[in-house]
């Protein structure tokens, strides 16, 4: 039944039926209403820095979804079919439509379900959010990951890069309750469990990445953020990560 509605109100059919932009916008809004009724699934891994962003966004908007935990050493057929290009989690399935890449999924969620918006309205503020979200993934996450997997000079460079990038985030949050302002927004979800992950890497690998005094604003933000009920339920904590990866190590 749900499937029929989806086909009837598919954009292609609408484009051929209606000429005027106004009417097209109206009917596309109706199409969104019906699309919202499609089942939502999240393919993820519970300790992933990227997957928790998606669950938080859905919970923030009150969307019911089915969570499917993936074994990354034995990826499911559904995952490989839904994300054939990268074969990575998270993947959001809305009805039969897969969306991959966490930042893209977050924008999709925000644009599909308009209640409790995560992005600001103003285009230049949106651009800033997108800039820093990209920065988190391309600088902070990659540097920290590199620092955890390398030695010698390469590791030193990665450690320095991580520390520098965290200082910028610290400056960004200075004087604010959340990156989104008074209430949490898109960038809060993106930065999300990064401090926990970084503290985990510090302890697991034995390197210095997160100086609490130097990064006091970011540290305090992390504590505020973790207290938010929907965040608290599913944020990967340093201890969870240590337990998991130490168990992995011992199993070898």
């Amino acid at each position: 039944m749900m499937h029929c509605f989806d086909m009837l109100y598919s954009p292609t059919l609408l484009e051929t039926q209606y000429q005027s932009n106004e009417l097209q916008r109206e009917t596309q809004r109706d199409a969104y209403e019906f699309r919202k009724l499609g089942e939502v699934k999240v393919l993820g891994a519970s300790l992933s820095i990227f997957c928790c962003r998606i669950e938080w966004a859905l919970k923030h908007k009150g969307i019911t979804y089915e969570y499917i935990e993936e074994d990354l050493r034995n990826k499911s057929t559904l995952l490989l079919k839904s994300n054939p290009v990268h074969k990575k989690i998270p993947v959001l399935l809305h009805g039969d439509k897969p969306v991959a890449e966490s930042l893209i999924i977050l924008e999709y969620i925000d644009e599909t379900w308009r209640e409790n918006p995560l992005m600001p309205d103003d285009p230049s503020e949106k651009a800033m959010v997108r800039f820093w979200a990209k920065y988190v993934d391309e600088k902070c996450v990659i540097s920290a990951w590199t620092a955890s997997r390398t030695k010698g000079h390469e590791q030193e460079k990665a450690i320095e890069s991580t520390q520098e990038s965290l200082k910028l985030l610290n400056k960004l949050i200075e004087g604010k309750t959340f990156f989104g302002g008074e209430t949490m927004g898109f960038l809060d979800l993106v930065v999300g469990s990064l401090p926990n992950w970084i503290k985990f890497i510090e302890e697991f690998v034995g390197i210095k990445l997160f100086d609490t005094k130097e990064l006091s604003f970011l540290h305090e933000w992390a504590q505020r953020f973790t207290e938010i009920p929907i965040i608290k339920e599913s944020i990967p904590m340093k201890e969870d990560l240590l337990n998991y990866f130490r168990a992995q190590q011992n199993a070898k």
């Binding site: 969306v99 285009p123 230049s124």
Partner: protein
């Protein structure tokens, strides 16, 4: 100060800068193009993009917007009354963004691999990777365009701009190596798309001339090879 004071800091050879120029043209926005030599980088650039110190930077009433794809989305939203660049449907937007990210994160590094290759074996390997990527993009084009001329349908859109920014570089690379990256066998759709894209009114006056870019590319290739050699040590 003009109400809509628009400047773009950039350089003519850059595929990333080109994306911003095409987007501004789609919206018929008048802007001042501030050409950077990058050696040294201007005060304005360093002040406007202190984090990355890279081009392009869009200055809209002195407010800087950085990162080419973010600039394209900004242009689409700030000049909302003009022709749309991104699709209006959230799922189609997600697909367009996915492939644009793929171009930047997977395909473009492979392209750099061709230009920076130290020897024939390395070049062949890089060409293989680029071709694989183009085959994926061809599949995406067939699905997304639904038989129309562009990824965006009848008119160029976000993904046309994201990928099309590299068209002149694709042609230079083909000329250099005597290879056909876009061809009838593996990428027939993209081959036709390339001609139409290059001829589009928003593109044709800003797309670098292949010969001029080929000359310029010799500088870039030298730099890429030096960087690859340094890394190999």
């Amino acid at each position: 100060m003009a109400k809509n004071d628009v400047k773009l800091i950039g350089a003519w050879p850059s595929p990333f800068v080109l994306r911003a120029r095409i987007a501004l043209n789609v919206k018929s926005v008048e802007y001042e193009f501030l050409q950077e030599t990058l050696e040294p980088k201007s005060e304005l650039l360093l002040r406007s993009n202190p984090v990355h110190k890279k081009i392009p930077v869009l200055l809209h009433n002195d407010k800087p917007i950085c990162e080419s794809l973010i600039i394209v989305e900004y242009i689409d939203e700030a000049w909302a009354s003009g022709p749309s660049i991104l699709p209006s449907d959230p799922y189609e937007r997600a697909i367009a963004r996915f492939w644009a990210a793929y171009v930047d994160e997977r395909w473009f590094p492979a392209m750099k691999g061709i230009l920076g290759a130290q020897d024939d074996a390395a070049r062949m390997a890089a060409v293989g990777q680029v071709t694989e990527g183009l085959v994926l993009l061809e599949e995406a084009f067939q699905k997304i365009s639904k038989g129309k001329s562009f990824f965006g349908g009848d008119h160029i859109g976000y993904l046309d701009i994201a990928f099309g920014g590299f068209l002149a570089w694709i042609r230079v690379t083909e000329g250099m190596g005597g290879i056909k990256l876009l061809n009838e066998t593996k990428t027939p759709g993209l081959l036709k798309w390339a001609e139409k894209f290059a001829a589009d009114p928003a593109v044709k006056d800003v797309l670098p001339e292949t010969q001029k870019l080929a000359e310029f590319s010799k500088i870039i290739i030298a730099k890429l090879r030096a960087a690859a050699a340094a890394k190999a040590k």
